[in-house]
Amino acid sequence: MKKCRYIIPFLVGALALTITTCGRGDKPEADGFTIALVMKTLNNPFFIDMQKGAEDAGSKLGINLIVQAAEREVDVEKQMQIVENLIQRKVDAICVTPSGSKEIVPAIVKANRAGIPILVVDTRVDAATLEEAGGRIATFIGSDNVEGGKIAAEYLVKRLDGEGKVAILEGIPGHETGDARLSGFHHVVDQLPGIDIVASQTANWERDQGFNVFQNILQSHPGVQALFTCSDLMALGAIEAIAAAGRTGDLIVVGFDALPEAREAILQGTMAGSVAQHPSEMGRIAVENAYRLLNGENVPEEVPVTIELITRQNAGSDSTPSVSR
């Protein structure tokens, strides 16, 4: 009877074992290289696309691809743990989308020390921090969110004829991607005296909050003429708020990510435009370049992935879905 108490812990282990073995059952160890793709999270269509691009390239090249991500996107510490563990696992190369542009640096340095090349995807590593720590990366593959913010701003200003009251819906404060888009946007509009930013609030990347926050902004600033949101989800919420106020079509709404739903809204005229990135391209190029690198070929220091302004003219043409982080 008493012995029973010591058997139970074994069951715990056994369960863990069962689940772990199930989890890896479908990935036979390939003869080729083992390359890891560490993303911010897996609970986001943007990264699912990236994973898909990487997997397609990987299977074409006969690469054993390991895809890992933290449970939550902002968890820089967990991402660092994953990189550390992959170093222990002795993978041949690591592609990473940093959860924090400075916070990833210590992990990069560790990989450097282990002689594992690091390919940075989508989000840039802070150059000064990297240099200070003496770390190096093999290449950067991605599009520039700051650039995207600028493109959005220029389009919005053009539609306003250089003059008007503008509101902004931000992402989660302190969040790299949103901050970059925002700073690109500010970079353009802050120089124009005709543009008056009447409100800039966070809607935490969420659609329902986009609705609520923008409804409040419409209450306090009825004269607002245009809206920039750091992601389409927030924009989609905001256009509902505009519709609820009976002002559909009155406001110029520019989003980011070019989600399918946003493209539809653009075609219907409830949104003016959005900015498209191509995550699956990023994933594909990252894996291909890692492969080249491991075969001793040179890869460029930087591979830009195109950013595209989506407006009524081209909203129907490209169907690459992507969402903001």
């Binding site: 449970e71 222990q88 924090g100 302190g174």
Partner: protein
Amino acid sequence: MTPKDFLLHYGRQFGTLIGLLGLVIVLWILTPYFLTISNLLNVAQQTSINAIIAVGMTFVIITAGIDLSVGSIVAFSGVVLASALQAAIPLPIAILIGLVVGAFCGLVNGVLITYGRLPPFISTLGMMSVARGAALLYTGGRPISGFSSGFRYLATGEILYIPVPVIIMVLVYVVAHVVLTRTKLGRYAYAIGGNEEAAVLSGVSVKFYKAMVYGLSGMLSGLAAIILTARLNSAQPIAGMMYELDAIAATVIGGTSLMGGEGRIIGTLIGALIMGVLRNGLNLLGVSSFVQQTVIGSVIIIAVLMDMALKKQRK
């Protein structure tokens, strides 16, 4: 202690240890990368932050309380510490500031719970939001990064091949074990959690010691913030999200009862290691994060089920 007393005292923890060893054996069989000295040190280092926070959580849970604010306190202490470091305040003083900020937040929890008569769940839930907001306000939402190598030594340094965070963790556990078993604070923590009314009637200053326990939990969150900041070379206002749940999980897996009055500090260390080893092992095996969450969740549930089964058996 006689062997029998020892078993009465640590029986449950012994079970958890066997669980950990079982896990280690399983991973050893499954992957050649697991049982290497460098990986084990790696696991210990990765466990250190959660393990240190979980010490405070163990004290709190032994008093039949809960502290949901630890993660936010990590963020807030971290950014205050970071700004102190950047203001060229000497390292020891900056570290002290980090600890004091954490302890202060914890004490506020304690005072709200004892003198304000708020349930711990509510008080620390509030503090979770307040400290997070304070960290965001304090930094304007941006991380503070770039510190001297002296400070970073706290995370990157090694003494006799052992990473400094691991050494700090071990020290914290030794001290916490002594505090819990050999001091008034520890003795009273059990008494308060076991039966608060009886503790009052035995002359225990329940309010004072309860407040101290929450202060201790806050201070250890401050310590975790120091290591985390040094590790990432950056203090983020959004750092430490969900750390409370990891700490609670480590504590509960380690055999501390949420009903209070029961628990051993060594159990919490084993609990934290089980979580660290699981995460590491699943990474090594290339298991997706979705599966990882499921596995860790299942382990928590099984640990508690096992606890209840054991108690029933004893009765």
